[in-house]
């Protein structure tokens, strides 16, 4: 018989929510541990994956939840990376936690600026504005070589040991677990924020901004705050990349990275944090494996993968799993 599952009472529903949070965190930690065991020589790659994951999570907020079209989100990531890198190499801010704070602050400012510009448009206009912004930022970093190192990149970043105890070792173990802890905290914080009234508003804006407005709520005010949060998350990703790789290159502030982040998000599934996480893992591992096999043609294979996902799982890998799961429940 086709019975709609009975809703739990309020308390039951709440428990359910926290249980899901706990499962999410446990899954992240388990995946990280498996990665640590299986790929002990590639911790640097995994750490880089996590810093990009933060960018994709940030993109998921504005694009996945609120429906803002952007191909320039690396601006926020790059702002965090350059701010943390410049702070460390030129101003002696080498404590890793302080570097994260600097990156988050720079990302927040970049988020506000990008948001203020991009939200003036709608749809395609937003897309074009976002590309313009990332290209401008890229050129600014390129020309301002006395500060940013230009096309040579920014080097001379030497983070202090974490808490004064754990050195960022050659094998990248400290950096890896530092990154894992950071992404777990960010994911938990974002889950809380996105199920708050504010998160509900953002989802509402994606589906019908006019209705939100006629409820007496400012659409652009809400989106600007979302951009600020997104900037913090992307900025943390940038700072993490500066800390773990000790260099910041122009590629962290590029259209390519922005577009790749969007591809990762679509692969994983938009509008849920799991999609951002899964999409990044698949993309980075796929890129890594395939580029070893075929250094010149790997992008073609990534393209084919994306086409397959768009054709057969339009709501991404997580959406595909959710569908398989629910169709089994609902005959």
């Amino acid at each position: 018989m086709n019975v709609i599952p009975q809703r739990h009472g309020e308390a039951g529903l709440l428990d359910h929510e926290y249980v899901r949070d706990a499962i999410f965190v446990a899954a992240l930690l388990a995946a990280a541990y498996v990665g640590f065991l299986v790929m002990p020589n590639m911790l640097a790659l995994l750490t880089r994956m996590i810093s990009i994951m933060l960018l994709v999570l940030a993109l998921d907020l504005v694009t996945g939840y609120a429906g803002v079209a952007t191909l320039g989100h690396a601006t926020l990531f790059g702002a965090g990376a350059y701010a943390a890198g410049i702070g460390a190499s030129q101003y002696g801010v080498t404590d890793p936690l302080l570097m994260l704070a600097v990156g988050a602050a720079a990302g927040a400012v970049a988020g506000l600026v990008c948001g203020a510009v991009i939200l003036r448009g709608r749809g395609l206009t937003q897309l074009v504005l976002s590309i313009a912004i990332v290209q401008l930022a890229h050129e600014a970093a390129n020309k301002g070589s006395s500060i940013t190192g230009g096309s040579d990149g920014l080097s001379g970043i030497a983070p202090d040991p974490l808490f004064g105890m754990f050195r960022f070792d050659l094998f990248g173990r400290t950096a890896f677990w530092f990154a894992v802890a950071l992404v777990v905290l960010v994911v938990v914080a974002l889950r809380v924020v996105m199920r708050s009234p504010f998160g509900m508003l953002c989802r509402g804006i994606k589906e019908d901004p006019v209705r939100i407005q006629s409820m007496g709520i400012s659409v652009n005010g809400t989106l600007l705050r979302l951009y600020l949060i997104s900037g913090v998350v992307a900025g943390l990703g940038g700072a993490l990349s500066a800390i773990s790789t000790r260099v910041v290159g122009l590629d962290s502030l590029s259209f390519d990275l922005s577009a790749n982040a969007l591809v990762m998000l679509v692969l994983g599934g938009v509008g849920n944090l799991a999609g951002a996480v899964v999409g990044t893992v698949i993309f980075v591992l796929f890129e890594n494996q395939v580029s070893v096999i075929s250094p010149f043609h790997w992008l073609i294979l990534v393209g084919l993968l994306l086409v397959a996902v768009v054709l057969f799982a339009p709501s991404g890998v997580t959406g595909l799993f959710a569908r398989l799961f629910t169709t089994r429940q609902r005959p």
Binding site: E207, Q213, M215, I217
Partner: protein
């Protein structure tokens, strides 16, 4: 009685087309007024001008004595003006309960909170369930809107404006798109609205209009051509010719 909503000499043109030509009307607390007129008369435009979704070229809108002509749509909502839409504007993936909760959160000034879930706010949940219960929507409380039949979506549209507790309510064809047999559900809901609320309703179903309205305003080509009781409107020659053209008179003469 003092007017809650006062529209004075409102003008709007789209290029050469005058869609609001010196429109004036006023609503007092407890008013049940219908706005009728042929297609293209400028009824929805007038609603958009009153709610601030369109900027007028001239004229004045006042709510409870305050000039709100310069205010944007959200500012007007905060002053107590709410509207429903001719075609439902809802969030397809969100549940009925979430829609009503969002409206309640806005009124409580909690809509932009970044912490906590509305499900953990007993006052919001209770109020949402009370409103959904009044409109017989409790069964759909946890269903995403895209799974709710259209007629019940129209009811949800009214649930949202009820939750906003406005002083003035503009209903843009609340019964549009639902089968004739279900109109009575919408009608009962509208009859049960707070008696002190000033309601302006655009509607095409004349039987519904005559049962609902104590006053009827007729628009044609951007102008108010009649403002009076339902009994008078049926006898008005201007209204007859606006709806039926000179054809009505020809037949009358024959």
């Amino acid at each position: 009685m003092t007017a809650l909503l006062e529209v004075t000499a409102l003008r709007k043109r789209f290029g050469g087309l005058v869609v609001a030509n010196d429109v004036s009307l006023s609503l007092a607390a407890g008013d049940r007024t219908a706005l009728i007129g042929p297609n293209g008369a400028g009824k929805t435009t007038l609603v958009n001008l009153i709610t601030g979704h369109l900027r007028p070229d001239g004229g004045r809108v006042a709510l409870a004595g305050d000039d709100i002509t310069r205010l944007g749509p959200t500012g007007r909502v905060h002053r107590g003006l709410a509207r429903s839409f001719q075609v439902t504007r809802l969030f397809p993936s969100m549940t009925a309960e979430e829609h009503v909760a969002l409206a309640l959160l806005q009124r409580a000034g909690k809509a932009e909170r970044m912490l906590g879930n509305y499900r953990r706010m007993p006052d919001i949940v209770e109020a949402a369930h009370a409103i959904l219960g009044e409109l017989d929507l409790l069964g759909d409380a946890q269903s995403a809107v895209r799974q709710i039949p259209y007629g019940r979506q129209r009811m949800l549209e009214i649930a949202i404006v009820k939750a906003m507790r406005p002083k003035v309510l503009l209903l843009d064809e609340p019964a549009a798109g639902i089968s004739h047999g279900d109109t009575h559900l919408i009608e009962a809901t509208i009859n049960n609205l707070d008696p002190g609320l000033a309601v302006l309703m655009i509607e095409h179903d004349m039987d519904f209009v005559f049962r609902f309205a104590r006053r009827v305003i007729v628009m044609a080509s951007g102008k108010v051509i009649f403002d009076g009781t339902p009994q008078e409107v049926q006898r008005s020659p201007e209204v007859r010719s606006a709806y039926l053209g000179s054809y009505a008179d020809d037949r009358g003469a024959a």
